[in-house]
């Protein structure tokens, strides 16, 4: 029961290394352009804001970068399945060549993957700063801010079971259940929650920030064109988590001014009874009957 290695027969073994390398190069050369120019434009999340543009570019870049790796494995598997098969016609167990390793290949593999990883991390980090956080929640002290962060429109997003409301501190702290924001102006979202953890996901704007009670989570966006976008809750928050959604609108600056003016007037009565604007709220009760 110890089959011996296959004796090298008279036939010349094909040059597997070279063949495989060629196949891989060809497959990669086909796939990368397809990803960039054919698939790429359709990769979400579109181009409604600066964030989604950055996210789209990164997703295309990562998909394109994944192709050489994907092809390496797929082409290899296909090549191995085709070429490295045991003789099906014979019952005898034949061993392959006893190659136990190859230090050079191992070192090359490690170095190449390390270079890739460092490159990816550097790319990701630079992108994160250049794109001022690309719409992700950055906590209360955002690291990367847009150039004119002081002039940004502040909107507070308040999550509660199960509804989003929005406060505009620049307009008397008016609170509404609909989200509208002007096109072409930096917006600074302050996301917080009144009860459990929610996550504010403005899908077409490429904004996502967890709403944590007692915490202020800042995310930036600059909308590039008008239209409507969806807001969904992205962190499981109880019974109506799946229904905790609303539709927001990006409008022109003038339209925004008239909308916010009308809203402030409409809700003047209730704005008077709202708590003063604050980055976090701790409304009672913590528990009833304690």
């Amino acid at each position: 029961m110890s089959p011996t290695a296959a004796k090298t027969s008279g036939t010349v073994e094909p040059r597997h290394g070279r063949n495989f390398a060629i196949l891989w190069a060809v497959a990669t050369a086909i796939m990368v352009p397809i990803i960039i120019w054919v698939v790429g434009p359709h990769i979400p999340p579109g181009s409604m804001s600066d964030n989604t543009r950055a996210q789209h570019d990164v997703d295309v870049a990562l998909t394109a970068l994944a192709m050489p790796v994907l092809m390496l494995v797929w082409v290899f598997l296909a090549y191995a399945i085709k070429n490295f098969r045991a003789d099906k016609t014979s019952e005898a167990i034949v061993d392959g060549p006893p190659i136990k390793g190859n230090a050079r290949i191992q070192a090359t593999w490690l170095i190449v993957s390390a270079v890739l990883v460092v490159g990816l991390a550097a790319y990701g980090t630079i992108d994160l700063f250049v794109e001022h956080g690309v719409g992700g929640g950055q906590g209360s002290n955002p690291l990367a801010k847009p150039a004119d962060a002081k002039g940004a429109l502040q909107i507070q997003v308040i999550g509660q079971q199960w509804m989003w409301t929005f406060r505009y501190p620049g307009y008397g702290g008016v609170e509404t259940q609909t989200l509208e924001l002007p096109m072409g102006r930096d917006v600074e979202f302050h996301v917080t929650s009144l009860d459990v953890v929610h996550s504010f996901w403005a899908i077409e704007l490429g904004v996502k920030a967890d709403a944590v009670p007692g915490a202020d989570n800042v995310a930036f966006v600059r909308a590039l064109r008008t239209g409507s976008f969806q807001v969904r809750c992205d962190e499981l928050c109880g019974l109506w988590h799946g229904q905790m959604s609303t539709t927001g609108r990006v409008v022109s600056s003038a339209q925004f001014q008239s909308w916010i003016g009308a809203t402030a007037k409409r809700y003047a009565g209730v704005t008077k009874v709202l708590p003063p604007y604050s980055l976090t709220y701790y409304p009672p009760p913590t528990r009833n009957a304690t």
Partner: protein
């Protein structure tokens, strides 16, 4: 280890089949668990009444002290019924330590505390597969609900309970799914030992896992739980009593993971046969060791976090209540500090199985053995340094994000090493595509997609889109189901003939493989798109324009479910009806476990063997890999299977 052979013939226990009924066994365990619940619940009601009469005015659903105590009471009853308290009590009375329990023969040993590691492994296999299919059934329900973009089929709360049960049960049972059955069965045999280091603890982990599964199911009787498997506080503080089942169940799994990991590490360190140097240790054993390191160190953090939620719910502490000086972020940090190693607890065993099986069917030595071991250790150690990538959007200190992005991408280096090992082994090989080999090949196909999608999630920019969406869900199904479950299936097809002594049907196996492979990919690949298009996880309502996609996915998921039924049919047909005797070494492997008789005698080795060669010495003109001493164990010496 010195040892001398005494008599080979085991004395049969003369206890009749009915006699076993009266001894400690699982029937008593169930009865006493229920009694334990009732008694402790009553007691808890009294205590709670004294502590805070105001808080629990006869409420049926809010008496968390009583319910938690009841669940702990059922644990005590369960262990009492199985006889786990007998030995500790004897030790308290000063009786000397021993390694084995009495009465470990006959069919009853499968239904009680048994110190034979092969019996425990079979118990584990049945239990984890049972819960795997229960959880799979939940997945079918979830997919049924998602055929409509409005919540139509299940009431909203019930849907969340289904999602939570599916996630928690899959995660917990699959954590134990390889290390339990295959780890317990193979590790001692592969290293040339007769037993695990702590046989009673081994059995305890198995029975705690079973109890954990049933406790989790009991959530349905207590109002369900709305949190999914991540149990985010303070939603967990707020939820109805069903969440207590989740907490206790996960705690049991945590304890079980610590103990099973501890047991395996100790076994490998101390019980290796002479000649089984660290350099010769089979790669599967290395996979188990690295998994065990994660289990021992990560699960206690989970236990602590669960303990805090229990405190919040019962004595109303405020660990996660931000209006009273706590913070939900504390749960996020602690849970994911456990949670990320946990997902590697679900990956490393797969690496081990695949790299163990590949050389056998490639007829080549494992390529780059040391690098593979280093890769596994790299994954294990680095998995403790990446957890905050689950919290990129959570509003914790944003300055840390570049660091965690870097470490997360760094972990792909040791993971990539596993691919290199696999491919080096396949290079110029003489591959035989048996059923186990098919599953191993598919492992590389699936796990690659899982890994590459992980790069998207590690990049903060891309994570803003994909975090918490179906993209994540597709990603981890590719790594856990496409990776671990495929490897586990390969392992079952590979080792089950040895474990039970009966062959599995290869034709059905191939049908199972191809249906599972095709429908798995058709189910989960479209979900990447669903996530990127804005479908959050765990919702029963989604945008109408994703409807067609979801209907397609659901149909494919049902087909995937059918392929699992093929697997069950194969198991039942081959093990119960056909019962075709398995050969001793049907795959012509050189590893130690295939050199001993089938079925394996209860003492494994008559004499502790001396290891004389590499388990992967294919193509090498080496002698036998093991020296069994004076006698190779007689084939018909014991009856381990059945």
């Amino acid at each position: 280890m010195e040892s001398a052979t005494v008599s080979v013939q085991p004395r049969r226990s003369n206890a009749s089949a009915w006699g076993g009924l009266l001894k400690t066994n699982v029937i008593w365990a169930v009865v006493l668990a229920i009694v334990g619940y009732i008694v402790a619940h009553w007691l808890g009601g009294k205590i709670a009444g004294n502590i805070a009469a105001e808080q629990n005015p006869g409420g049926t659903d809010q008496a968390d002290i009583a319910i938690l105590l009841g669940l702990f009471g059922s644990i005590v009853g369960w262990m009492l019924g199985l006889g786990f308290f007998n030995y500790p009590l004897k030790r308290m009375l000063g009786r000397p330590p021993s390694l084995h329990e009495g009465g470990e023969s006959g069919a009853w040993r499968y239904f009680r505390l048994c110190t034979d590691h092969k019996v425990v492994a079979m118990q584990y296999l049945v239990a984890t597969l049972f819960f795997f299919f229960v959880a799979g059934l939940n997945a079918m329900f979830i997919r049924t609900e998602l055929t409509s973009h409005n919540a139509t089929l299940f009431p909203s709360g019930n849907y969340l309970t289904l999602v939570g049960l599916h996630g928690t049960m899959m995660l917990t049972m699959m954590s134990a799914g390889v290390i339990g059955p295959l780890g317990n069965w193979l590790v001692p045999i592969m290293i040339g030992a007769r037993r695990m280091a702590f046989p009673r603890i081994e059995s305890l982990t198995m029975w705690l896992t079973v109890l954990a599964g049933f406790v989790l199911l009991s959530a349905t009787l207590l109002g369900g739980f709305p949190t999914g498997w991540t149990g985010y506080a303070p939603l967990a503080d707020q939820a109805r009593a069903g969440i207590d089942s989740y907490l206790v169940s996960f705690l049991l799994i945590g304890i079980s993971l610590v103990l099973v990991g501890l047991n395996i590490i100790v076994t490998v360190v101390t019980l290796r046969a002479p000649g089984m140097s660290w350099n010769r240790l089979p790669i599967f054993v290395w996979g188990m060791v690295t998994t065990s390191i994660l289990a021992v160190l990560a699960a206690p953090v989970l236990a602590a976090a669960l303990f805090m939620v229990m405190c919040d719910r019962s004595i109303e502490s405020t660990f996660f209540v931000s209006s009273s000086g706590g913070s939900p972020l504390l749960w996020d940090e602690l849970f994911w500090f456990f949670g990320h190693p946990e997902v590697y607890i679900l990956a490393l065993p797969g690496f081990g199985i695949v790299l163990e099986i590949l050389p056998v069917f490639a007829r080549k030595p494992l390529w780059g053995y040391r690098l593979a071991v280093a890769g596994m250790f790299g994954v294990a150690l680095m998995s403790f340094m990446v957890w905050q990538h689950h919290l990129f959007m959570s509003g914790i200190n944003a300055n840390l994000r570049p660091f965690y992005m870097f470490t997360t991408e760094l972990i792909s280096i040791p993971t990539g090493v596993i691919f290199l090992n696999g491919f080096g082994t396949l290079w110029k090989a003489k591959i035989r595509f048996t059923v186990p080999m098919l599953f191993c090949t598919a492992f590389f196909f699936n796990f690659l997609i899982g890994g590459l999608s992980g790069v998207f999630l590690s990049d903060v920019t891309s994570d803003v889109v994909t975090h918490g969406s179906f993209f994540v869900m597709a990603h981890f199904h590719y790594t856990i189901m496409g990776g671990l479950v495929f490897a586990l299936m390969g392992g079952i097809y590979y080792w089950l003939p040895k474990m039970t002594g009966f062959n599995l049907n290869q034709t059905l196996g191939k049908i199972h493989f191809w249906t599972m492979f095709v429908f798995f990919n058709l189910t989960f690949f479209p979900l990447f798109a669903a996530g990127m298009l804005g479908m959050p996880r765990r919702v029963s309502t989604y945008n109408a324009d994703l409807h067609t996609l979801n209907v397609f996915v659901s149909i494919m998921a049902f087909c995937l479910g059918l392929s699992m039924i093929i697997f069950i049919v194969n198991l039942v047909w081959s093990m119960v009806f056909k019962r075709e005797r398995a050969a001793e070494n049907p795959w012509h492997s050189k590893s130690l476990e295939w050199q001993i008789p089938t079925p394996v005698p209860s003492y494994n080795f008559e004499e502790i063997p001396t290891i004389t060669g590499d388990p992967y010495g294919y193509g090498l003109p080496e002698g036998p890999v093991v020296d069994f001493g004076r006698r190779r164990p007689a084939v018909a010496a014991g009856k381990a299977g059945a």
